[in-house]
């Protein structure tokens, strides 16, 4: 059998995937999955008759799934306050930031029997950003990669430079099902003019990318996606800091 696109996909034409999805609806949708899973796992624990190892595994999954939901709520709160707050931009060493993020994400990836690693740039780089917002963007891309990449593949966080070092690119490379050309084209259009949630994968409301694009805007940066034969790279481009050239 082959899986052709079926006309019956039209059966699902609910509001969740509509292009005009509101952030509020998207947030509710996005939070449903982790909350539903936490609830089911908790009910499983209540039923009892589980081995100690099973109980430990379920408890670990509950705590890590809750953290994922909390990250989203935290990003949402920050996103809503973007217009009212000034975010200090400072020179940041992206390698150090990425290594901190990897340390934070390693337990989550390990619980999924997965690995996240940093692919370093050969020369030291310095960029201008808000540390908290940039961290949230990379965490978001990494979380996305964890959930949508193929099993047993490594997620890579990469740093590179463009335009003779004027632009620094931080990217999260996953090795998963390739995005279709149409999806990539649609994504690129939407990332360039993000005014609503951006749906990169069908089961995602696109809220994460929408928030990431807002955070990028607040730092005069830009997020984008590169399609690969075996996955995708979601990235943010930011201005390089001139401080390094003064050293």
């Amino acid at each position: 059998m082959s899986a052709a696109q079926g006309e019956h996909e039209q059966l699902f034409s609910g509001p969740l995937l509509a292009s005009g999805l509101s952030s509020f609806t998207a947030a509710a949708h996005e939070l449903k999955s982790p909350l539903a899973l936490v609830r089911q796992l908790s009910l499983m624990l209540e039923e009892g008759e589980l081995s100690i190892d099973e109980q430990k595994r379920i408890l670990r999954q509950i705590s890590l799934t809750s953290e994922r939901a909390l990250r989203l709520t935290s990003d949402l709160t920050r996103s809503v306050r973007l217009a009212d707050a000034l975010f200090e931009l400072e020179p940041i060493n992206p390698q150090q930031l990425c290594e901190d993020i990897i340390r934070e994400l390693t337990p989550l990836f390990a619980a999924h029997d997965r690995e996240v690693r940093f692919v370093s740039h050969k020369h030291p780089l310095l960029l201008v950003a808000n540390r908290d917002l940039l961290r949230r963007i990379i965490m978001n891309f990494s979380d996305n990669a964890l959930h949508y990449a193929e099993d047993e593949t490594t997620v890579e966080i990469r740093v590179g430079s463009l335009q003779s070092g004027k632009i620094i690119r931080l990217g999260v490379r996953d090795y998963g099902p390739a995005l279709s050309r149409d999806t990539v084209k649609s994504l690129k259009d939407k990332l360039a003019h993000a005014a609503a949630p951006i749906n990169a994968r069908p089961q995602s409301s696109g809220l994460g990318l929408y928030i990431a694009s807002q955070f990028a805007d607040a730092m005069n940066g830009k997020i984008g996606v590169t399609q690969h034969r075996d996955g995708a790279t979601f990235y943010i481009d930011l201005q390089a800091s001139h401080q390094l050239s003064l050293l």
Binding site: K32, S33, D151
Partner: protein, 124 residues
Amino acid sequence: MKKTAAILIVEDDKWQAEQHERVLNRAGYNTAVALHALAAIEAIDDIHPDVIVLDVLLIGNTAFTLLHELQTYSDTGNIPVIMCTNIASDLSIDDLKPYGVRLVLDKTKMAPKDLVSAVQSVLV
């Protein structure tokens, strides 16, 4: 000897899939997991499941592509499908029945035993 029913779980959230397996294995069913529609099609050919537990929003093709594909072949068109989804309230069982869907379970409301009851009911 009575054959143990084989359940194919099509679910892209690995921990959710693991939870379905945990529940069904404890009830005595054999299970296999496919994380997306293409993997499901391969698994259907391999294990000839008695029931498919299907999430709706999957990586790549959605559940509806898979449902359409199942209906294309006489040997797969009769496999009962239980949809298990967070968007149950957006779905109509009447619309889905022609595609082999027997039940729709709401992940946000179901208890572990509901999945077992659903599988038992479609196997009768």
